[in-house]
Subunit: 127 residues, 2 copies
């Protein structure tokens, strides 16, 4: 019986794969890490500040991504009753728990680059 030799391995592995799917569903898209990373740096930022700070993003995208992140309790949105009305965005405690992931990803990105440069001179993909 060769069949079902592998397929849907031990229970812990399923949990692991589901956990990865959960994380990536929340963090998917071009801008999530960028926005979260920026908020880690500046602590509190207003909409227009984020729009200037997150390089290349448009108002629509920023608005949508912020809503996503707020829905998932990663950032907090506070409306201040200032004269022309400003809104402040900041990471929640839950959002701050993403620190290690972002650190790990940033670290990998840096070592990955330097590894490639060491191994071959010919640019291997999109360098």
């Amino acid at each position: 019986m060769k069949k079902e030799a592998l397929s849907s391995s031990s229970t812990g592995c399923k949990t692991r794969i589901l956990a990865i799917n959960d994380s990536m569903e929340i963090l998917a898209g071009k801008w999530k890490f960028h926005i979260i990373g920026t908020l880690m740096l500046f602590e509190k930022l207003r909409f227009m500040e984020l729009l200037r700070e997150v390089d290349g993003i448009g108002a629509k995208m920023l608005s949508k991504e912020l809503q996503d992140l707020e829905m998932n309790h990663l950032i907090k949105r506070t409306v201040l009753n200032t004269k022309p009305l400003t809104v402040e965005y900041e990471l929640t405690d839950c959002g701050k728990t993403l620190g290690p992931i972002i650190d790990e990803i940033a670290k990998w990105g840096i070592t990955y680059r330097s590894t490639l440069y060491q191994k071959n001179e010919t640019s291997p993909a999109a360098i």
Copy 2:
């Protein structure tokens, strides 16, 4: 002078953001983490085994993702001269360095879920 109070912060932060972009460009898409995670578990898998193991993926997607990963030196593709011709995929040393990222993401996914269940009973987004 209120202007340029923030915008394009210290040099290290730019590097960090670029590194994150690098990583995510390579790891973007619905299936990358899934495939890599599976190859971490099984060490070596043939195309058809991956097709069965990676839940829900189609032949076209798998083929494309494997090519991407190979281009970026994260997996190695070996053609065996067996009777009906088989191909073996495995992680490279470089690919294996993704271990900590995947661990961190899986860990976060699990604690994120449990945090939500502790805080509120009402399902907050896609639970």
